[in-house]
């Protein structure tokens, strides 16, 4: 049996009176690419934010590598703050990329390895990211805010990899990008999964792309998981086809 690197049990999150997550059960096995698809407002970003501690659970529990990182209870040991969760090996590429606009490309990459004290290793990782994304090397002295959307997405992904995470979470990496660039981004995500031994949990509205590169998929509707299957099956599922693939 494969090792569950991430597991969510009956996770609920509220914003005031709005229930954004209504009891989500989900797991990601080590080495897989798992995608979560859903329409606007389904609760996808909320789910990712709750994993990294940017939103609090009102119910349920989240474990990473078998130990609790978020919990609805009062026990602080089960409920780590964001910086500790990052330190334990999770990275999130946030929706809208979230590069630091007034920092250079190089400084953005450095921030990604904030917890790493070893300067030589930091340098090695930066060099490695330049190899992976040549455009970032050319733009290293440029302010991140002046990059194009696609370049910012590359930077956000490279930055997230700077901490050498075991689990990479991606929130709509295709958002607002041209089709050719979207293909490029998804090819990069596949490549990262193959070559870097990083488990990937991908949230997308671009269902076709997400399902075509992932092993397993979940479908979310208004705070609930309504479908869970192998991605290849979901691509053939009539309901998914009608609602998310426009066929």
């Amino acid at each position: 049996m494969t090792n569950k690197i991430l597991e969510l049990k009956d996770v609920r999150v509220n914003y005031g009176n709005i229930q954004a997550l209504k009891g989500v059960n989900l797991n990601v096995a080590e080495g897989e690419i798992v995608s979560l698809i859903g329409a606007n407002g389904a609760g996808k970003s909320t789910l990712l934010k709750s994993i990294v501690g940017l939103e609090s659970l009102t119910n349920g529990n989240i474990t990473f590598n078998g130990s609790s990182i978020r919990d609805a209870g009062k026990n602080r040991k089960l409920n780590l703050p964001t910086d500790k969760i990052i330190a334990s090996g999770i990275s999130l590429v946030p929706e809208g990329r979230g590069v630091f606009p007034e920092m250079t490309v190089l400084e953005n990459l450095e921030m990604g390895a904030y917890l790493l004290r070893d300067k030589a290793e930091k340098k090695r990782r930066i060099e490695e990211k330049y190899e992976m994304f040549g455009i970032l090397r050319d733009r290293r002295k440029q302010l991140a805010g002046s990059l194009s959307g696609g370049e910012q997405q590359m930077l956000a992904i490279a930055r997230a990899l700077m901490s050498s995470p075991k689990l990479l979470l991606l929130d709509e990496p295709a958002l607002g990008l041209a089709p050719l660039i979207i293909q490029n981004i998804f090819a990069t995500i596949s490549k990262i999964s193959r070559e870097e031994k990083v488990t990937i949990f991908l949230v997308e509205q671009n269902a076709k792309m997400a399902l075509s590169i992932s092993d397993k998929g979940y479908v979310m509707e208004t705070g609930n998981i309504i479908l869970e299957d192998l991605s290849s099956n979901l691509l053939e599922n009539p309901k998914v086809k009608a609602a998310y693939l426009g066929e």
Binding site: V52, G53, L54, P81, T82, D83, I86, A87, S91, L92, P94, G96, R97, G98, V99, F100, P101, E102, M103, E107, E110, M111, G112, Y114, L115, L143, G145, S146, L147, S148, G149, Q152, R159, S163, G176
Partner: protein
């Protein structure tokens, strides 16, 4: 040179006067701007944090003060008093944030602002209660008789203010631009949740910001005290002026606060000389500048308009 019919020696004199005043404003303005940069909130207790640190430095100085021990000793305890003032203000700033602002981080914007005004009134009243309302003279640690430089008379204290201001500001700039924690501070001010995603302990950075801003204000407080004494409301007007300086430079922008302070100091000084504004109305200059800036360039003179591309 004969600008506005002012003889060049007087021009130098006014320039030095304006720069010293400006350096003081800059030191205080940095605290407002750094806190605003990170929390998008004006710490209206900043002037009173300055006052409290100055009292700490004052009492430490007079606890050890002994003119019979010579000039070097006096300068030594003065430097120590400056450090004590910085530490006291830093601790107070950090504690105030934890007690009065942090619990209100998710409350409507107005709540922490009102809390800050409350804290400032409490601190000024506590100071009056414990230290008395009478001003206390803070003796110069050196002979402050003025020197003749290029036909204008400049005091050693003015030179000290310029030197200390320069060192503090250069140090801060280096810290923010070059060090790991400084970069974390910039990252946190640009995007707090994403900074947390880098593994930055955002609460620690917020505390550090309050500590540094408050310590810089304490330096300004001690320097002001040498010229104008120590009293419970000493931070109020200086704080307001420095707040204006921060707005002039572009609130949230560190270089802007430095520049805004210097500009305001020069405007106040030259406003009196050139426009013939009576000394008694000198304070109106700063507030007029504030209104002008808010009308003409509300984001301040140095605020860049870089937007995140979507």
């Amino acid at each position: 040179m004969n600008l506005f019919n002012i003889p060049s020696n007087e021009l130098l004199q006014h320039l030095i006067n304006g720069l010293t005043l400006g350096a003081i404003y800059s030191l205080i303005a940095l605290g407002y701007t750094m806190v605003y940069g990170i929390l998008k909130f004006i710490n209206f207790a900043h002037g009173e944090i300055l006052m409290a640190g100055t009292y700490a430095g004052y009492y430490f100085y007079y606890f050890l003060y002994d003119p019979s021990k010579g000039a070097a000793y006096t300068i030594g305890i003065f430097i120590a008093a400056l450090v004590i003032a910085m530490i006291a203000s830093a601790i107070l700033g950090v504690v105030i944030e934890k007690v009065a602002y942090k619990p209100l981080r998710k409350a409507p914007r107005l709540a922490p602002l009102l809390s800050a005004i409350g804290v400032s009134i409490i601190l000024a009243n506590l100071a009056a209660l414990f230290f008395g309302t009478k001003s206390k003279k803070f003796e110069y640690p050196f002979n402050n008789s003025s020197m003749d430089i290029g036909g204008s008379s400049i005091t050693p204290n003015q030179l000290m203010i310029l030197a200390v201001g320069l060192i503090m500001m250069a140090g801060l700039k280096l810290f923010v631009d070059r060090t790991r924690l400084g970069k974390a501070m910039r990252a946190t001010s640009q995007n707090q949740p994403v900074a947390a995603l880098m593994g930055i302990n955002v609460n620690l950075i917020i505390s550090l910001t309050f500590a540094i801003g408050s310590a810089l204000a304490a330096v300004a407080g001690v320097l002001i005290a040498l010229e104008y004494k120590v009293y419970p409301t000493m931070g109020t007007m200086a704080g307001l002026k420095a707040f204006i300086a921060a707005v002039v430079g572009g609130i949230g922008n560190i270089s802007g606060a430095m520049l805004g302070g210097i500009i305001l100091g020069l405007l106040e000084t030259f406003g009196v000389v050139i426009l013939g504004i009576p000394q008694g109305l000198k304070d109106t200059i700063a507030f007029s500048v504030l209104i002008l800036i808010l009308l003409l360039r509300p984001s301040g003179i140095l605020m860049k308009n870089i937007r995140e591309k979507v």
